[in-house]
């Protein structure tokens, strides 16, 4: 039985449908991600889980109990807000102790637990500091300490890292994951940053326009997006418009691209079968496109011209023109290639996803 389960949640604000028919399950001990562009309803979903918004319809179950209308203060979930929402009039100690005081814990226990929580977030000895004297990263840690100090049954994160700079963000990300694992907590994590979601989460739901488009393991989502919108949102993708030609040999289906007129074969299961002569979209990640100068009779080898090379540190992004079809490839070594060179782009069939265009 899942620990948290959302059933057909919907929420409207005036004229906008913020959340539409969202259902998902979070297993005990899982680090669950809600990923989507800003305005997709992920924060609203999180706030409904926290009890800060009441859904218009649908229900929320926690540990087998319906908590849809339970006020936030009685859910016992810890939440880390995007802007941290630290109490400016209280010092670090009192901020962390806030939830414990609300529970009327005895003072010695409060002191001990605040101390422990601050140690966990590597801020020991900061008790007496004013929160406005802390750096952004430290404020963020206080916010986390405050949320875990109450021994939450569920930990909710609302883009907690978005106010930090890049290096600090990556560092904190690792610590956060480790902390949650160590405490054996279940967490729901909202973010618009796919890299962050992939690094942190066990499972991810991708939300766009108030709906969950796809839920799954990060790798599955990345490599086999089920929908165009998911494919577009998760990382860079070459989206190729094509028409299905035939069932082809063995388990490969044959497509013809609209631009360039290349023949592409991909491995498709039955459920994805598209009727013949029907337009659809094929997706392949730039890093999966191989560039070679030799025609090795490989599957899906397309002749192309190098249009642009962008050096980006470890990799280079190479823009190719294959007879009108623009492709982007990532290569570790761009050496040997220069703009205007002719080459062969290989699109391995197992790397190509067929997207539903909804």
């Amino acid at each position: 039985m899942p620990l948290l389960s959302l059933k057909n949640l919907s929420k409207r604000f005036d004229k906008t449908q913020a959340v539409a028919d969202v259902s998902l399950d979070v297993e005990r001990g899982e680090f669950f991600g809600l990923l989507g562009p800003s305005g997709c309803g992920k924060t609203t979903t999180l706030r409904m889980i926290a009890g800060l918004e009441t859904p218009d319809s649908g229900s929320i179950e926690f540990d087998g109990r319906d908590i849809t209308n339970l006020p936030a203060e009685r859910r016992g979930f810890g939440m880390v807000f995007q802007n941290y929402a630290l109490f400016p009039h209280l010092n670090v100690f009192e901020n962390v102790a806030f939830g414990l005081r609300a529970r009327h814990k005895p003072n010695p226990e409060i002191r001990e637990r605040v101390k422990g929580a601050l140690e966990l977030v590597q801020l020991p000895g900061y008790e007496k500091r004013r929160v406005d004297e802390l750096s952004g990263g430290q404020q963020q840690r206080v916010a986390i300490a405050r949320a875990i100090a109450i021994e939450p049954a569920l930990l909710l994160f609302d883009e907690p890292l978005s106010n930090l700079d890049v290096t600090l963000r990556e560092e904190t990300r690792g610590e956060l994951r480790e902390l949650v694992n160590r405490l054996g907590l279940t967490a729901v994590y909202v973010t618009h940053d796919q890299e962050e979601a992939f690094a942190l989460c066990d499972r991810i739901s991708v939300m766009v326009g108030g709906r969950i488009l796809q839920t799954g393991l990060p790798r599955d989502l990345y490599e086999h997006p089920a929908q165009l919108l998911v494919g577009q949102f998760l990382g860079r993708n070459n989206l190729i418009r094509a028409i299905r030609l035939s069932a082809g040999k063995s388990e490969l289906a044959e497509f013809q691209t609209l631009e360039g007129g290349h023949t592409i074969r991909i491995a498709v299961g039955d459920k994805n079968l598209v009727p013949l002569n029907q337009a659809c979209i094929l997706a392949i990640r730039p890093e999966h496109i191989l560039i070679t100068k030799l025609d090795d009779q490989l599957e899906n080898a397309v002749p192309a011209t190098v249009r642009e090379i962008n050096f980006a540190g470890a990799t280079s992004s190479i823009k190719l023109d294959a007879n009108g079809l623009t492709l982007e490839a990532l290569a570790l070594e761009a050496a040997g290639l220069s703009v205007g060179d002719h080459c062969i782009a290989v699109l391995p069939p197992e790397r190509i996803s067929l997207l539903r265009n909804e």
Partner: protein, 590 residues
């Protein structure tokens, strides 16, 4: 958090599998929504009852009377009033003066608030305190002091005259300029105090962020800081506009030929034309309340996202650059001297020997007679105690009341009844004090079915009630402005941490709103201390307030004694302010 051994918290933080968190909660109410709703209902009930008995019922007869003619309903009174050129002229003059007053007060108050709230320089606290000085100038003698200072035979005029060897006074203290000068002097503290309170709650790093994004100083100010200050600025503008609309003694004393609506009401009353006075009163209140609607609309369009604010507070910047520092200090000193002058003049008048100060720049001989007169008077102490206790009761009640109101209004979701509520609350502020007192006296002077045998007139409590009704809008506005500036996420954070509504209120909202609320309450307290126009109509022997004593001395031509009363009052207020300041810093430091 690498090599840290899991601490005791870490181990305990591991949730006992299968046990939901609310199991640990001390509060086991069967229905959570009911627990959250009922206090709100009680609040609503309190607010409705107070408004019904304090505002609607007493003032209804004013509106009804203005709509009646020869025993029947008619708009004739309005047609008559509004068809007179003199009335139209006075309406335009009132609006014009009030708009200009708002602009001038903002022009003085807002920069001052920035100067004192954002920068530190030597003696900043001292100057910052002085900047609120005009508030303590008691209304009756304050105008007199102003006349002795800036009037055509005042100290400044005489000084200029003697320096430049002029035959005649260089100016006269009459007309629009005199009115605006006095209004700006007495009303800019609304902007100064409310903006100051607002600024103290704005995160300076936001402005810094703006600067770092390449925005110039003016751009940061207009695009980042001012929009965040909007609630405070609007509250101040509204209070200033309404005060200016209802301003009476200034136009009476310095207006010269300027006719404003309050004066028209006054002369109509004096002529015995009660119907016209009533109708003009309704017109005045209507204008003031439409200003409220106007400001609210503006407020709606400029409402910033509260979530954009981090809960963390500002940092005060030290003015370091040599010339900027000198300039800031110079401005502070200059302002303070200007602000102190009327009070100093009042002190001078209180020590001047009557009849000795005629054509001289400063009095030629001094005396302590005025002080011995009031200190040897046994009733003087009583008068002070009366005023202090009644104002404190009224201000304290206003503070509690404004939290009731703010709790109902401030939170998300704008509905029509909220608008009506804030309207009704401001009605007593929009009405001239005389009208508030008269309607209360008439409504609560006789037993009526609505009241049972409850009669307020002739008791000690009538004045605290009048003060409460007249000045609670001030506190409500201040609290509302503070509440609107609080990041909504703070309360949400508190509730996600398990705090019940009253824990959220006392531990999060209250401490954050406190500075603004205290500022507003002190403002109401101080203004109530000097209230005259309403007091004179309802005071009783046992609650004779200080303003009546001052007026009494003035009527007996004891200008010096009246000034002495004023000086003592200012001293008392000053002491209270210092005490309050101490209290505030000691609580906020804790």
């Amino acid at each position: 958090m690498s090599e840290e051994r899991p601490s005791s918290v870490g181990q305990r933080a591991r949730p006992p599998r299968g046990q939901p968190a609310w199991g640990a909660s001390h509060h086991r109410t069967s229905d959570g929504t009911a627990a959250a709703l009922s206090p709100r209902l009680i609040l609503l009930l309190i607010v409705v009852v107070v408004l019904l008995y304090g505002v609607i019922y007493p003032n209804l007869h004013v509106v009804i009377a203005s709509l009646q003619r020869d025993g029947g309903w008619s708009l004739l009174n309005y047609r008559e009033v509004l068809s007179q050129n003199i009335v139209l002229e006075s309406i335009f003059a009132s609006i014009g003066i009030s708009v200009l007053t708002v602009l001038f007060c903002a022009g003085v108050g807002v920069p001052l608030a920035f100067l004192f709230e954002r920068y530190t320089f030597p003696a900043r606290r001292f100057f910052a305190t002085l900047a609120a000085l005009p508030l303590v100038l008691p209304p009756l003698v304050g105008t007199v002091a102003f006349i002795f200072l800036c009037g055509e035979s005042g100290i400044l005029a005489r000084l200029v005259q003697s320096v430049f060897q002029l035959q005649h006074s260089p100016w006269s203290l009459r007309g629009w300029s005199a009115l605006l000068l006095f209004h700006t002097y007495t009303m800019y503290p609304f902007f100064y105090i409310l903006t100051g309170a607002g600024l103290s709650r704005i995160d300076a790093s936001l402005a810094e962020a703006g600067r770092s994004l390449g925005a110039g100083k003016t751009r940061v100010l207009t695009r980042i800081v001012l929009p965040q200050l909007t609630p405070s600025l609007i509250a101040a503008a509204l209070l200033t506009f309404m005060t200016s609309m209802a301003s009476f003694s200034a136009p009476l004393l310095f207006g010269g030929g300027v006719r404003v609506l309050t004066l028209e009401i006054y002369t109509a009353r004096q002529r015995g034309d009660a119907r016209m006075a009533l109708t003009e009163t309704v017109v005045l209140a209507a204008i003031s309340l439409s200003a409220l609607v106007f400001f609210q609309r503006y407020e709606g369009t400029r409402k910033f996202a509260a979530a954009a604010m981090k809960g963390a507070a500002k940092r005060r910047k030290a003015v370091s650059a040599g010339y900027v520092r000198a300039l800031a200090i110079a401005c502070g000193v200059l302002f303070s001297v200007l602000l102190v002058l009327p009070v100093a003049t009042l002190v001078l008048v209180s020590f001047a020997k009557e009849g000795s100060w005629t054509t001289q720049t400063l009095p030629s001989s001094y005396t302590l007679a005025n002080y011995t007169k009031i200190f040897s008077d046994s009733s003087a102490l009583e008068v002070f105690l009366n005023s202090l206790s009644m104002s404190a009761i009224a201000a304290g009640a206003a503070l509690i009341w404004s939290f009731c109101v703010a709790a109902l209004i401030a939170r998300k979701g704008r509905r029509h009844w909220k608008r009506v509520l804030s309207w009704l609350i401001l009605v007593p502020w929009a009405l001239p004090g005389t009208v508030v007192a008269v309607s209360l006296a008439e409504a609560y002077g006789k037993p009526s079915p609505l009241l049972g045998s409850f009669i307020l007139v002739g008791t000690f409590w009538i004045l605290p009630v009048v003060y409460f009704l007249r000045f609670m809008p001030l506190v409500v506005r201040a609290v509302q402005a503070s509440m609107e500036q609080i990041d909504a996420a703070l309360e949400e954070a508190a509730s996600s941490l398990g705090a019940q509504w009253w824990q959220r209120f006392t531990r999060v909202t209250l401490p954050l709103v406190w500075p603004g609320a205290i500022a507003g309450t002190l403002l109401a307290f101080v203004i109530a201390l000097g209230e005259y126009v309403a007091s004179v109509l309802v005071f009783v022997p046992h609650n004779r307030p200080i303003s009546i004593a001052i007026a009494s001395e003035l009527r007996d031509f004891n200008l010096g004694a009246a000034a002495a009363y004023g000086v003592v009052l200012i001293t008392v207020i000053g002491l209270i302010m210092i005490l309050a300041g101490r209290l505030e810093t000691s609580t906020s430091a804790g």
